[in-house]
C-alpha cells in the first residue's frame, strides 16, 4: 500500500482539523453525475417526478455527496489510494432547486483517532442548507 501521502502521521494529533471545503451542486451537476455513474433515478433530475414521490424538489444523489465529502480527505493527503475505509449514513437529502444557484455542500473533517500502522480515523461533517446531510461519515486513511 502506498505511503506517498503529503501528511505525516507524526504531524497530526487527535483533533487536527482538515481544510474545510464547499462544493456547489446544480441540476447540471446532477445530470452529469447521472451519466458518469449510471444512476438515472428521475428523483435526481425530474422535479415533477420528485414531487410525486413526496420529495420537496430534485435531490442530489447520495453517492454524489459521498464522493464530494471524501475530497476533504483525499485533497489533504494527496494520494486517494491512501483511503482504506470510508463509510457514511445518508441522513437528509441535498435539495437542489432550479433557481440558477442550486445547492452547496459544506464539508469539514478532523482526526478523530490515531490508529495502528500510521493510520488515522477522520470524522467528516457534511452540511447543506443548514442541515447535516451525512451521519457517521468516517474514513480511515494511511499517512506517511
Amino acid at each position: 500500500m502506498s505511503t506517498a501521502t503529503k501528511i505525516a502521521y507524526a504531524d497530526v494529533e487527535t483533533g487536527t482539523e482538515l481544510p474545510a471545503q464547499t462544493f456547489p451542486v446544480t441540476r447540471a451537476t446532477l445530470v452529469r453525475y447521472a451519466g458518469a455513474s449510471g444512476d438515472f433515478n428521475p428523483i435526481h433530475w425530474n422535479e415533477r417526478f420528485a414531487r410525486e414521490v413526496g420529495l420537496p424538489d430534485v435531490i442530489a444523489h447520495g453517492m454524489f455527496t459521498m464522493a464530494e465529502a471524501i475530497r476533504v480527505v483525499t485533497d489533504w493527503v494527496g494520494d486517494p489510494g491512501a483511503v482504506l475505509e470510508y463509510g457514511v449514513r445518508f441522513t437528509k437529502p441535498v435539495i437542489v432547486p432550479d433557481d440558477g444557484e442550486g445547492a452547496v455542500i459544506e464539508v469539514s473533517g478532523k482526526v478523530a483517532a490515531k490508529l495502528a500502522d500510521n493510520t488515522v480515523r477522520v470524522d467528516l461533517t457534511a452540511m447543506s442548507a443548514g442541515k447535516k446531510v451525512l451521519g457517521m461519515a468516517r474514513a480511515v486513511v494511511r499517512l506517511a
Binding site: G35, S37, M63, A67, T74, D79, G87
Partner: protein
C-alpha cells in the same frame, strides 16, 4: 410487506467482469469535479506508487450496486423497489481500483429486517480482480420506506 427471511446469508455467483476504463475514470472524476491528477495522469499515479490511474473511492459503487440490484429485485425477496432509498454505504479497500482492472462482484445478503414499517436489507459486495484478489468490499444498506399513512 414482510420480506423473506430465508434470503439472509444467501450468496450469489460472481458477476461478469467489468473492465475499468481510463476514460470512464476520467468521466467520473470530472462529474464529481475532482481534479486530482491520480485519476487522469498515469505518471502522476505512478509517482504515488500506483500501476496506472486509479479511480475515486466511490467509483466502484456503480459496479457493486449493479450487482446488488440484480439480487434485490428478485420478486421472491418481496422488496418494494419503487420505495427504496439508500441508507448507509461503506467501503473497505484492499487497494485502489485502477484502470485495466477486470472486476467481478460476489453479493451476499447479510441482513433482512423490518423496523417501523420500513423494510431494510444489508448487502455485502466483495469485488475481486481477474487474479481473484480482493480489491474492495462494499456494504450497502437499502431501506424500502413504509407507505405514508392516509
Amino acid at each position: 410487506m414482510a420480506l423473506d427471511q430465508s434470503f439472509v446469508g444467501r450468496t450469489y455467483p460472481p458477476t461478469a467482469p467489468y473492465e475499468v476504463g481510463r476514460e470512464k475514470i476520467r468521466e467520473f472524476a470530472v462529474a464529481v469535479g475532482d481534479p486530482n491528477p491520480a485519476y487522469t495522469d498515469r505518471e502522476a499515479a505512478r509517482a504515488l506508487g500506483h500501476a496506472d490511474v486509479i479511480a475515486p473511492p466511490t467509483f466502484v459503487f456503480a459496479i457493486t450496486y449493479d450487482a446488488a440490484h440484480r439480487v434485490l429485485t428478485d420478486p421472491a425477496l418481496g422488496l418494494d423497489y419503487d420505495r427504496v432509498v439508500h441508507g448507509d454505504q461503506k467501503f473497505a479497500y484492499a487497494r485502489p481500483v485502477r484502470a485495466g482492472d477486470l472486476l467481478s462482484v460476489v453479493s451476499t445478503i447479510e441482513a433482512v429486517k423490518s423496523l417501523a414499517g420500513n423494510d431494510i436489507v444489508d448487502v455485502r459486495g466483495e469485488v475481486r480482480d481477474a487474479s481473484g484478489e480482493l480489491v474492495v468490499t462494499a456494504w450497502t444498506k437499502l431501506v424500502s420506506r413504509a407507505a405514508e399513512e392516509g
